[in-house]
């Protein structure tokens, strides 16, 4: 039997085109297979299931059979192509220029377009000079963090006999006035200065005492989101029920105890500082890795092949739910990020392949045990839940990356600053 012919017609880094010719015999065989598959299932009037003659089935399901035969052929051709050409596809191929004269009984020809992993050669992976800078955590940063905590914990305390100021929480009722009628009063609760109400209303509120009611005419600002209302005037009746002010708790040991399991303010301060320092370390590591990749990319002139970049952009667009009409704009904006991502992945993959740095099952197990111990769960249960959420591969990938970076960093000099 003559085999399926596959010929490489074009290749660029990251993509390849293959011309495929499927000989007549193979086409007929595929059709026969598809027909008999349909014959076994077909239920036609006058025949018991599976007893209808092939000719009749072929006539009845011509389109379906053709479709199935074609799918069959494409699958087979793809297998043949993979066996013949040393391709490393990153995705399923696209089929183009399909030609099949059904009546003529000739061969089927088509083209595969596929995105492939480009061949890169990293000649220099070490002896780079890198700087790892961990920014000092300043006292101001700690204080800012503590203030944020205080704001989170601060209770709202009612204020009596005082006009509300910015950042106060007010309880108001706003009703529209028409002639002498006051219509549908609506209660609102808002923090002044956050822009929840139109500026004129906020201004009015700030001139009132709690319990007061005033009639006013306000105008919608020209930049109001609802276009129809811009610049329009409304007669309203405003009444201010209550004003609350946030009362920041004192920064003392009692506050520390309230925030969490801390003995004293000093302990809390220390914990906050440690957190910030850890964060800084993490960031420094991330920056170090980025720099390292950047240097490797530059030293070896790793290019990001267009098809892979496009693919990455597309994947991100899907993940962010970018609408169809904004796709071009998004692609434009996102291109540099996608390119960096592609280059990084290429370098990492190359390292994994050429230096055997893939995370082993034992390492994965050890990591699972560790995480499980931290969470107080049995490791088997954790593995099952990760597997179910399809996160196990992410974990493995993360481990592999860690190994690669450890290796890479050991090849270069890192200067700590």
């Amino acid at each position: 039997m003559t085999a399926i012919q596959v010929r490489k017609t074009a290749e660029e880094p990251g993509a390849a085109s293959l011309a495929v010719t499927v000989p007549v015999e193979q086409v007929q065989e595929a059709e026969a297979r598809a027909t008999s598959a349909y014959q076994r299932r077909a239920r036609l009037p006058g025949f018991r299931k599976g007893k209808a003659p092939a000719a009749l089935v072929r006539k009845q399901f011509a389109e379906d059979i053709r479709q199935q035969a074609l799918e069959d052929l494409i699958r087979e051709s793809w297998k043949a192509a993979l066996a013949q050409e040393a391709l490393q596809p990153v995705a399923d191929p696209h089929v183009h220029n399909l030609k099949w004269d059904v009546g003529a009984g000739g061969p089927v020809t088509f083209e595969f377009h596929v995105e492939v992993k480009p061949e890169i050669g990293l000649e220099r992976i070490g002896k780079f000079h890198l700087k790892r800078t961990v920014p000092k955590v300043t006292e101001e940063q700690v204080l800012a963090q503590l203030t944020a905590l205080r704001e989170q914990k601060a209770p709202w305390v009612p204020v009596a006999g005082e006009k509300p100021a910015l950042k106060d929480l007010v309880q108001v009722t706003i009703a529209t006035r028409e002639a002498d009628d006051v219509k549908d009063p609506q209660p609102y609760q808002l923090v002044l200065g956050e822009g929840r109400a139109i500026p004129e209303v906020e201004e009015r509120i700030m001139g009132m005492l709690p319990g007061e009611t005033v009639d006013a005419t306000v105008r919608f600002p020209p930049d109001f989101p609802e276009e129809a209302k811009r610049g329009q005037a409304r007669a309203i009746r405003l009444s201010l029920q209550e004003v609350k002010r946030q009362h920041l708790p004192e920064l003392d040991d009692a506050f520390a105890r309230e925030v969490g399991d801390f003995e004293s303010l000093d302990a809390l301060r220390k914990a906050v500082r440690e957190d910030l320092e850890k964060e800084a370390e993490r960031e420094a590591d991330a920056r170090l890795r980025r720099d390292l990749i950047e240097q490797i990319v530059q030293a070896n002139r790793v290019a990001a092949p267009r098809p892979l970049v496009e693919r990455a952009v597309y994947v991100y667009a899907q993940a962010y739910g970018v609408p169809e009409d904004r796709l071009a704009e998004f692609a434009q904006e996102f291109r540099p990020v996608a390119e960096a991502q592609v280059r990084r992945d290429l370098v990492l993959d190359w390292m994994v392949e050429h230096h055997g740095l893939r995370a082993t099952a034992a390492e994965l197990d050890a990591r699972l045990q560790e995480i499980a111990a931290r969470g107080g769960k049995p490791a088997a249960e954790l593995r099952a839940s990760l597997e179910k959420a399809k996160r196990l591969r992410d974990l493995e990938r993360g481990l592999t990356e860690e190994k690669v970076f450890t290796f890479l960093l050991s090849q270069s000099t890192v200067e700590s600053a």
């Binding site: 006058g46 025949f47 018991r48 003659p53 092939a54 000719a55 009749l56 072929r58 006539k59």
Partner: protein
């Protein structure tokens, strides 16, 4: 009497008729109950431009069908089994 092409109602394509066709090249048709063998022969020859060597007919008996408590009958119908001269063929059966 109906016109010639009205005599032949249609081909009978069932497991049984297909088997007969495959084994002995017999073509089965549903025909008008009043049609006679010579009329059927003439009609088939004219419609499909073939030479008929043999026509056999039979009346398929009406079947009793009950629908709930109502009992009825399906109409009886005439089937013609036609053999052609060697080399002639009718497309419908060929598939």
């Amino acid at each position: 009497m109906p016109e010639q092409h009205h005599l032949i109602v249609g081909p009978v394509i069932t497991e049984k008729s297909s088997a007969a066709f495959q084994a002995r090249k017999e073509y089965a048709f549903r025909v008008q109950a009043q049609a006679t063998k010579p009329q059927i022969r003439a009609a088939i020859e004219a419609l499909f431009e073939v030479t008929v060597t043999d026509v056999r007919t039979l009346v398929v008996r009406a079947k009793r069908k009950s629908y709930g408590r109502y009992v009825g009958r399906r109409p009886a119908w005439k089937k013609a089994i036609v053999t052609l001269k060697e080399g002639d063929a009718i497309q419908v059966f060929e598939g």
